[in-house]
Symmetry: C2
C-alpha cells in the first residue's frame, strides 16, 4: 500500500470539481463541490447522532437506501438545517444534479455545511450545478476539497493505492472539519471514493466499523454537528473479485480505508478552529476498549487541558482530572502520563502521582505542533487513540462572530 | 426572609478569618481561611464525583461521618491532590487547627484548592493556622472569602435572615469557583453556616436535595474538579425547635438555604474564568425534570454558544444544535428559543425553525452582562435552570499558563 496523489479522483472512473455558485458572498472561495462516478457505485454513509439533523442528510439517507449512488453534490456557507423548506431544497439540488449529469435523482448524495437556520435559496444551484459539471475532471479533487470548506484553513485530501487479488485498487477522500466537531459521528463532512469492487452491505460494514476508531474519536470543541456525514462510493472499476463477505480481501480493504480515515482525522483535528497544535491521546493498559476510549476522549475534550497545551504548559494534573471525571472504570492510583513530540518524551506522572521532571524539557516538547499525550492505565491490554487540538484565542475569535 | 450582610459570620456563634500563610508566593493575597463555631455544629457535605479526589475530601468525609464539626480550614494555591503524602498533610492540618482551637481534630473540615500534583508542605500551616485563629472575628467572612479564592476575580458571599417558630435564624455562605467548574457536584468550594437548629441527617437531606438544582446546574468549562465540595455547619444557636423531620420548618429552612445557594451559583457562573457575561438557561415545557435539566446543561456547556454569547451574536442554531446532541428526549420541531436581558426579549426560533428578528435589537440585548436563554420544549410542564458564562480570550489566557 502506498500514498498517492489525486484525492477523490485517484480511483478509476471518478471525476470531481468545485465552483463558486453564490451561496457565499465571497467570490474568491469555491462554495460548491461535485464528485461523479462514470459507473453507478456501491454507497454507504454514516450520519450525525444529533436529533437536529440537516435536511440533506434525510434526503441522502433516502437516496442511498438501495445501496447505490453515482454523484455527490455539496455546498458550503449554509447548512440547510432548521429551515421549513429544507427537504424540498435538498431534493431540488438532487434533481438539478441528476438532470445535469443524466442520472437518477435517487443516485445523488447531497450535503450542506455552514450556518444553521438561514433559508437556502435554490437559485445559486440552477447555474452552479451545471457549472460544476462543466469543470469535472480527474484533477478536480483539490477544487472539490475547497468547495466544502467552511472555517477550515487547509484542504484535506489523501489517496492510497493497494492490491486486491492482483488488481490495483485506489481509495481516496476529501474532508472538511474545523468547528462543531465532536464524537459521536458524524462530525464533519468526508467523501471517500474507491474503485474497489465491494458489495454495498460490506461497504457499509467497513465504514461503520472503521469510524468507531477514527471519526468518532475526534473532537475539536465538544459540539456534535447537525449536518455532517461520511460517505463512501465504490464503483468496482478496479475489477477485483467482488468483496461480498469477510476474508483477506475485506481485511485489506479495511486497512486501506483506515489509512485514508486516520489521515483525514488528523487533518481535521489539527485544523480545528483556531488550533495551533494537533493533540493525539494514546491510552494503553485499559481494562477494555470502551474504558480506554472513554479516557482518551475525555482527555482530548478537556478545555483546561486544551488551553494548557496552547500554552505549552505540562499541567498533567488536568490529564488526571479528565481521567477521573470521564466515567471510565479506572484505578487512578495506577495511571501514568507522558508527553511526547518530535523533541522527545517526558514522564510527568507515575502511579497517579507526580514525578520530578525538567520543566524546561517539557516546554521544549510541548512547543511543537504535534503532541502525544500517552496514558497507561495498568488495568489490562486494551488501547485507544483520540485526536483533538488546543484551545486558543482564535477559536474564541472565530466563534464570537461567525455570522458577521 | 431578607438578605443581610455578614457572610459566614451572620449566624450566631460563628467567627471567621483569613491570612497569608505562604502556600502562595504572592503576599498580597490571603491563602488561608478559617471558620469557627462557638458550639459544635451539625455538619453535612457533598463532594466531587471525580474519581481523582483531593486528599482533604477523604479526611473531611471521615471527620464528619458522625454528623458534627466545629471548624473549617481551607487553603488556596495548592490542591493537595495526586500527592503521595496528601492524606498525611491534610490530617496534620486538622491536628494543628484542633490544637490551636482547643477542639477535636475529628471536628475539623479541611479543604484545599489550587494546582494539582504539587507537594504541599505543612510548614506554612504551622504558623498560618495560629495566625488565622488570632484574626477570627464576626467581621471575618470577607477575609475568609478572599483566602479561598484562586483565579476568582471577586469575593462571593451572602447571608439571609429568616424565622423558624418565632426564632430569628441566619444562614450565610462563602464560595470560590472560577475554573474546573462543571456538574455534577462538587465543582467549587462552598462553606455555609447557619445558627438554625437542625439534626445532621436533615441537614444532609437539605443539602443533597438543594444542590441537584443549584451547584449541579453550574458549568464554567465542563471540567469537573477533583477537590471541591459544599459544606454546611448548623450550630443551633438560634434556639429554634430542632428540625428533626420534614414539615413547615424544614421547608422554610430549605427556602433560606436555596436563596444562599442560587446566589452563590450565579456568582460562580458570572465570575467563571475569563467570563464577561453570566448566562442563565431556563428550560420550560419539558417532558420531565431530567429532560429539562439535560437540555439546560447541554446549552450552557456548548463552547460554540458560549463563544457566540461573548460576541453578542444571536446564533440560535447553536442552541438548537446543543439541544439536539444533549441526549434529552425532545421533539426538536416543537422547540422555541428567546434571548432576554435588561434591554428586552427577542424570539429567534419557533417550532424548531428560525423566525425573522431584528439583528440590531438582538445585539443590543446580548451586549448586556446577564443573558437569559429561554427555551420552550412544548412537551409537558417540567422546568430547569442552568448557569454558565461566555467563552472568552481571557479563559484561554488564564488557562494557557496557569502554573507560570
Amino acid at each position: 500500500m502506498k500514498i498517492i496523489s489525486g484525492g477523490v479522483c485517484a480511483a478509476k472512473g471518478f471525476t470531481a470539481g468545485g465552483v463558486h455558485c453564490g451561496v457565499r458572498k465571497n467570490r474568491t472561495k469555491r462554495d460548491l463541490a461535485m464528485i461523479f462516478s462514470e459507473k453507478k457505485a456501491s454507497a454507504a454513509a454514516v450520519y450525525t447522532t444529533n436529533l437536529v439533523k440537516g435536511a440533506p442528510l434525510t434526503v441522502t439517507k433516502n437516496n442511498i437506501a438501495d445501496g447505490y449512488a453515482q454523484a455527490v453534490i455539496c455546498n458550503s456557507g449554509n447548512a440547510n438545517t432548521c429551515n421549513a423548506d429544507g427537504i424540498e431544497i435538498a431534493e431540488k439540488m438532487c434533481a438539478i444534479a441528476a438532470e445535469t449529469l443524466g442520472i437518477s435523482a435517487k443516485d445523488v448524495v447531497v450535503a450542506s455545511t455552514g450556518v444553521i437556520g438561514q433559508p437556502l435559496s435554490i437559485a445559486p444551484f440552477e447555474s452552479g450545478i451545471p457549472a460544476a459539471k462543466a469543470v469535472l475532471s480527474t484533477d478536480g479533487s483539490d477544487a472539490a476539497a475547497e468547495g466544502i470548506m467552511t472555517t477550515d484553513t487547509v484542504k484535506k485530501e489523501i489517496a492510497v493505492e493497494f492490491e486486491l487479488g492482483g488488481k490495483v485498487c485506489h481509495i481516496g477522500g476529501i474532508a472538511k472539519g474545523s468547528g462543531m466537531i465532536h464524537p459521536n459521528m458524524a462530525t464533519m463532512l468526508v467523501f471517500i471514493t474507491t474503485d474497489a469492487n465491494i458489495a454495498p452491505e460490506m461497504l457499509g460494514k467497513a465504514l461503520s466499523s472503521d469510524i468507531a476508531d477514527t471519526f468518532n474519536m475526534v473532537s475539536v470543541d465538544g459540539d456534535t454537528s447537525t449536518n455532517d456525514m461520511v460517505t463512501v462510493l465504490a464503483n468496482g472499476m478496479a475489477e477485483n473479485e467482488c468483496i461480498c463477505a469477510d476474508g483477506a480481501d475485506f481485511a485489506e480493504f479495511m486497512k486501506a480505508l483506515n489509512t485514508v480515515t486516520v489521515y483525514l482525522c488528523r487533518c481535521i483535528a489539527g485544523d480545528g478552529e483556531g488550533a495551533t497544535k494537533l493533540l493525539e491521546c494514546n491510552v494503553s493498559g485499559g481494562k477494555d476498549v470502551a474504558n480506554a476510549k472513554t479516557v482518551a476522549k475525555s482527555v482530548i475534550c478537556s478545555s483546561l487541558l486544551k488551553a494548557a497545551m496552547f500554552g505549552a504548559d505540562a499541567n498533567w494534573g488536568r490529564v488526571l482530572c479528565a481521567i477521573g471525571y470521564s466515567g471510565a472504570d479506572v484505578d487512578v492510583n495506577k495511571v501514568g502520563v507522558t508527553f511526547k513530540s518530535p523533541k522527545g518524551e517526558i514522564t510527568v506522572c507515575v502511579n497517579g502521582a507526580g514525578v520530578d521532571f525538567s520543566e524546561e524539557k517539557a516546554k521544549e516538547i510541548l512547543l511543537e505542533k504535534e503532541i502525544e499525550i500517552n496514558i497507561t492505565l495498568g488495568d489490562g491490554n486494551a488501547c485507544a487513540t483520540a485526536w483533538g487540538c488546543d484551545l486558543t484565542y482564535d477559536y474564541v475569535k472565530i466563534n464570537g462572530d461567525y455570522r458577521t
